[in-house]
């Protein structure tokens, strides 16, 4: 583990926001923190970058100037152009001149924003704002890039451009940590951490998480709920039999990563 959280607990007043959470962050790779609204994803990221002080546990991170962070709500300065937004943030890291200009243009081009560099931040669509904000977090070539739901509300084309950009920096040796509510983004990570109500329900590579599920899985056509441990997928049902014995009439199938995540949440909820 290069950086990350180890056994970190955070309380806000009497509320337990994080309960002994471990999020290992490896060199060059993408770590995805997945969970629903209120799971504690933002608190994990804020603790990682030093905006929240943990009550216990260990946090390792590079120095501030080697960290890039995109908060969940960050937009741009609405009354500055994309170009001015970039230059302002770059100057905060002491970046200016031709190198800064080259880096900025290269990143904006990768997410298809070079033609928008003279537009005001406030005039961009939500997806364009998120892309520009990720570019800004990358301007100073951080060693650790932390992104809080960079793709929420972003359309598929922009989402794909953002992932391409993130893939590129991860391949160049930047550690990327990002939060998401989308299973398919966790499925493509090097390492995933499933969080719910401040607790880690599953962690590891997506293959390891999938391998760790026990019991049998099956599918059934629509109609009433086949067993208590069933959930909808498309028009049909998915069924998990922890005992390994599926009810009659259920077609057995190999679970996928989404099944593994839902099962971890079901188990976590029952605890």
């Amino acid at each position: 583990m290069r950086w990350g959280l180890e056994g970190v607990s955070v309380h806000f007043g009497r509320k337990v926001a994080l309960d002994e959470v471990t999020v290992p962050v490896d060199a060059s790779g993408i770590t995805v923190v997945i969970g629903g609204d209120g799971a504690g994803k933002s608190t994990v990221l804020r603790t990682l970058v030093g905006l929240v002080r943990p009550d216990s546990g260990v946090v390792s991170r590079p120095p501030k100037r080697a960290t890039g962070y995109l908060p969940a709500t960050a937009g741009l300065y609405a009354d500055l152009t994309v170009d001015e937004n970039c230059k302002f943030s770059a100057s905060a890291y002491g970046l200016r001149g031709a190198d800064c200009e080259r880096r900025k243009n290269e990143l904006l081009e990768q997410v298809g924003l070079n033609a928008a560099s003279d537009r005001l931040g406030g005039q961009l669509s939500g997806g364009m704002q998120r892309k520009a904000a990720v570019v800004i977090a990358l301007l100073h070539s951080p060693e650790l890039l932390v992104l809080d739901e960079p793709t929420t509300g972003v359309d598929p084309v922009s989402r794909s451009e953002l992932w391409r950009l993130i893939s590129g920096v991860a391949a160049q040796g930047t550690s990327v940590v990002l939060a998401t509510t989308y299973v398919n983004e966790a499925a493509r990570a090097n390492s995933a951490v499933l969080l719910e109500a401040g607790k880690v329900l599953a962690a590891g590579s997506p293959e390891a998480i999938l391998r760790s599920v026990t019991g049998a899985f099956g599918s059934a056509v629509g109609g009433s709920r086949p067993t208590p441990q069933s959930w909808r997928r498309g028009a049909g049902w998915r069924i998990w039999a922890p005992s390994g014995v599926l009810p009659e009439g259920v077609t057995p199938l190999q679970p996928d990563f989404e099944d593994a995540v839902v099962v971890a949440e079901l188990v976590g909820e029952a605890r």
Binding site: G36, P156, R164, G168, A171, R188, R232, V261, E265
Partner: protein
């Protein structure tokens, strides 16, 4: 045959801008149709045309076999992305307000809503808020439901539970139109219509839309160098753990890799829905 909703060649122009361009779409009983598109593709305008909130510049809309009117609107339930509830009123107050707006035709509160009756809507977790908004939209027993990004921001189990509610209504005969740009949500639908630049460019099941779209999977011990080499050669590369997924002719991809002296395994595989969507609308 009468559909719940039927749009035939509808267009809408705002000044010189064509927001919706000759779209045909039907929604039948018991089915979930997903309307998929990027921001600005025309999804919201299309829904406003369908509801009769906007008059089409060309083409016809029929709801339950008749032109849209206040009478047909009564038979439609709608949950906007913003959920359309008052955050500083309780769940019960929101319920009664919506009920009054529909002429008091709402039945008793379902159990899942009743237990939260006294809670302020603004204080509920997002998944609960979505369940309440959904219950309110269903309270007047609509025959057609229109849902805008119904599970945005909700975790995997919460999403499965919301879809359970949606499927319960289709099992009762309701038809559902879901608008989304989340392709995970799209895969839950029975049928998809892809919109781009105001037009319905493709429709079918998720598998039909993917059709024979392919991508190339590249496995290489030195995946980071392989990614850099392919990007330099102009390919769009996506990283899935340590596997690269690339769009392009397989011979060109393999050629670039061998020029970079990289020993890699290259395989043509079926694209996923997101890759297909990007290929279809990405360069428009």
């Amino acid at each position: 045959m009468t559909f719940l909703a039927e749009a035939a060649g509808i267009s809408k122009c705002f000044g010189g801008v064509v927001a919706v361009d000759s779209v045909d779409l039907v929604i039948d009983e018991r089915e979930v149709v997903g309307l998929i598109g990027a921001n600005g593709a025309g999804k919201t305008t299309f829904i406003r045309l369908l509801l009769g909130l906007l008059r089409p510049s060309a083409g016809t809309v029929r709801l339950f076999g008749a032109p849209p009117s206040t009478a047909t609107r009564r038979r439609v339930g709608y949950v906007p992305q913003s959920l359309g509830m008052y955050a500083d009123l309780t769940v019960g107050e929101n319920w009664r307000f919506a009920s009054a707006a529909f002429g008091g035709r709402c039945g008793p509160m379902p159990d899942g809503v009743a237990v939260r009756e006294a809670s302020l809507v603004g204080s509920l977790p997002l998944g609960d808020k979505r369940l309440v908004a959904f219950a309110i939209a269903l309270a007047h027993s609509p025959e057609l439901l229109i849902l805008d990004e119904p599970t945005s921001g909700v975790g995997p189990l919460g999403r499965a539970r919301l879809w359970e509610e949606i499927r319960e209504t289709t099992d009762r005969g309701v038809g559902v139109l879901v608008t989304t740009h989340n392709l995970e949500e799209a895969e839950q639908c029975d049928r998809l219509v892809i919109m781009a630049d105001g037009r319905a460019v493709l429709s079918g099941t998720a598998a039909e839309i993917v059709g024979d779209h392919k991508v190339i999977e590249v496995r290489c011990r030195n995946w980071s160098k392989a990614l850099a080499v392919l990007e330099r050669s102009g390919f769009a590369v996506q990283l899935h753990a340590e596997v690269l997924r690339v769009v392009g002719p397989v011979s060109a991809v393999a050629g670039s890799l061998s020029e970079g002296n990289l020993d890699a395994r290259v395989e043509v595989v079926t694209a996923n829905l997101e890759e297909t969507f990007v290929a279809l609308v990405g360069n428009r």
